[in-house]
Amino acid sequence: MSDVNQRSESGADKNENEIASRETAGLSQRQIILRRFVRHKAAMVSLFVLIFIILFVLSASGLRFGSRQDPYIVPGWWRYSITDIDPEGAIAASCNNGVTGCPTLDISPTFIDGDGMRIGDHPLGTDIIGTDYFALVMRGAQQSLTVMFIVGLLGVTIGTTIGAIAGYFGGIVDAVLMRVTDMFLVTPTIVVGAVIGFRFGTFGVIPLAFLLGFFAWMGLARFVRTEFLTLREREFVDAARVAGASDRRIIFKHILPNAIGIIIVAGTLLLSGAILAETALSYLGFGVKSPDVSLGLLISEYQDSFGISPWLFWWPGALIVSIALCVNFIGDGLRDAFDPRQRRHVSAKDRSNAQELSSERD
């Protein structure tokens, strides 16, 4: 493949190469990647938005550890929790047409409508019995994010380990591990998730996430294996082996750093898949169960009231979409940054600059 992709040094290509090499002169691999990533506008914006969402969600609803009966709570800055029921507030926030629990958030300033900007008592409204919806959404998002990160972390760890071992040692080890991977792969994630979730959903979100993570590593293992298969044939691995490096050292010091790109990219895809899978499972009733909340569960509970109180439906959905969208864009940026064949779009201006540069030199 690589010799097919090698470009001949002709005309425009030469100029483009010149631009590329001028940009990366004197930088380490890591710096080049970072630079490419930072330049990917959509990815950078998404990164900031995602970090903002995470911090906002975590700080708003606070953290709960320990058992359900006797939780250790780190309080957040929001005044209501998901167990506070405030029917009077719900009525206070009622809208004109008799529907209760309307959002009090108003972002249109005074010159558009009379009320002006305000957050109010229940910015996202309340649900039917008067629970503050902002608290519910924040708690749900926290759960969904937790699942996403645990599944991602576990999937990446297991997938990398299995893929690396299979790819590096080859032979019978590879054959056995890959057949095992196929066995897991034949089982759709949602099927496994439903089986697990139906039984273990009531245990809380963290055990559920761990169990889901055990069934989410297959795609990544395949990617990593392919990468290891090509990398282990490279000269630098031979050199390391001749120098007396152990298998462990070769894997961790020589091959893994070179495969990190594909791992990170596949990992981000896993993350966005995980949040969608968790919400889908909760929606079907196989994931997080009431009284706990997750974004999928909120949508499933209030989908029928869309006509009357649409805010109960919009907010959790918007959060899922924005989290998944951010993760996807970050993954795209990372792929561009790690892919050595990927070059930045060379604009006409860059091209003419390079032309001048090379003609001056000639």
Partner: protein, 505 residues
Amino acid sequence: MMLVIIFGASFLAYNLQAYSSDPLSEFGESTAENRDYLIAKTIRDLQLNVPPPVRYFSWLRGIVAGLWGNFDMGLTRFDVPVTELLAQAIPVTIKLVITSTFLAIIFGISIGMITAIRQYSRFDYVITFVSFLLFSLPIFWVAVLLKEFMAIQFNDFLVEPQFSRTTISVVALVFGLIMAGFVGGSKSRFLSVMAGGAVFAAAVLSYVSLTRWFLEPSLGIFGVSFLALCSAAIVIQLITGVEDKRGLTAGFGTAVAVALLYFPLQALMPASANFLNVLTVFVATISVGTLIGYMVSSIDRRVYMRIGLFTALLATFPVVIDRFMAEFAGYMNSDAVRGRPIPTLGQANDLLATEQLENFWVSGLDTALHLILPTIALTLISFAGYVRFARGSLLEVLNMDYIRTARAKGLSERTVIVRHGMRNAMLPLTTILVNDFAGLLGGAIITEGVFAWKGMGQLFNDSIINYDLNLFMGVFIITALLTVLANLVADLLYGVVDPRIRIRK
């Protein structure tokens, strides 16, 4: 090898489900007098005293017995044979996913390839953003939105189906922008295409609004002719390009022929028609198209016959759709529908009268209307993946040396992209396509749940809720077989479409 994988996976699934389900839990709080008896009966019926790994083999025996004819997947907990339920459910699921899969493939690949050709254009950025957005949408959320806006509000709109001026101008402008994005080119061309598209859309919308088209939809001879000419233009552009006079004659000749056949073909589609009639119509037009292709050419006949064939195929769809539309007014005003044609739930209208059910056109229309929402939802979700994949694939191919060679030897840009680029870019797509067919069940579980279809996904849901192990395994084994077979087909197909693979082996 395949069998080993299926064996391992089914063993895994069986034990997973067996250990995580507890059929006795429903008796936990039971106060019934015969509680002990019920518990004992459940244990005996489900063989709960046998440990799951052992019980698995008694299940397997029924499957293996299929080799000599008496296939047995066991009974569900309500004593219905699993095979019977599966036989009912599989066609439903296939019906649900097949249209959306085709639509997603066709639109996804064509739009993905256009973005690759216009890499880094504004169009590319917009489509990239849209596909990422669709990628991040949970299908159940989309489904609820669709139900509200496409079904409930659309049905309300049908009471007085007229667009306001604002709606017409906004939609026309958006349509013009999309068209201009497709065509691309210089600024003046962009603007003229946009203006043309907007005027066209505004004209169509005004016509639809003024004639209350939605209440009695039909394409008529003019609509059919217009769509036939469009199909001819697309097919010609893809196969020979407009420079080839014979290609033009073959394509547009076929389009005109289909339009002329519009009235004669109606006789082939009477009220008592069935599926065979539709097939006959297609065979008839395709033969005419192929014949025209044969007649206009003297050399390279296959190319022109292909133009005729594909033009006729595409152009016949409007003719058949027009026939279905003719039944719409009657369907909509019938007692079962009462003027709300787009349903939010279910796979068929249970209230339809017998003569309506027996009428191929009416029942077909009913199915089509029930399919609209799930199809849109599934298409939107899977469309994004194809766009990204087709784009990446074509970009990679366009960087190859043989593309440069093709350009260097003076081939037209169209030939380079269509013949040398797109064909090669389609190769890796075959793998994805086949694998996607296998992965459809995962999507179907959610979609069937949201739209209340009674297919494989519903069976699966029931099996988990009722701790129905045999049913669960029945659904599972179908999926697993499908996945493994799909992989096999993908490997074989890849060898067929890409000769390099064969040589290497």
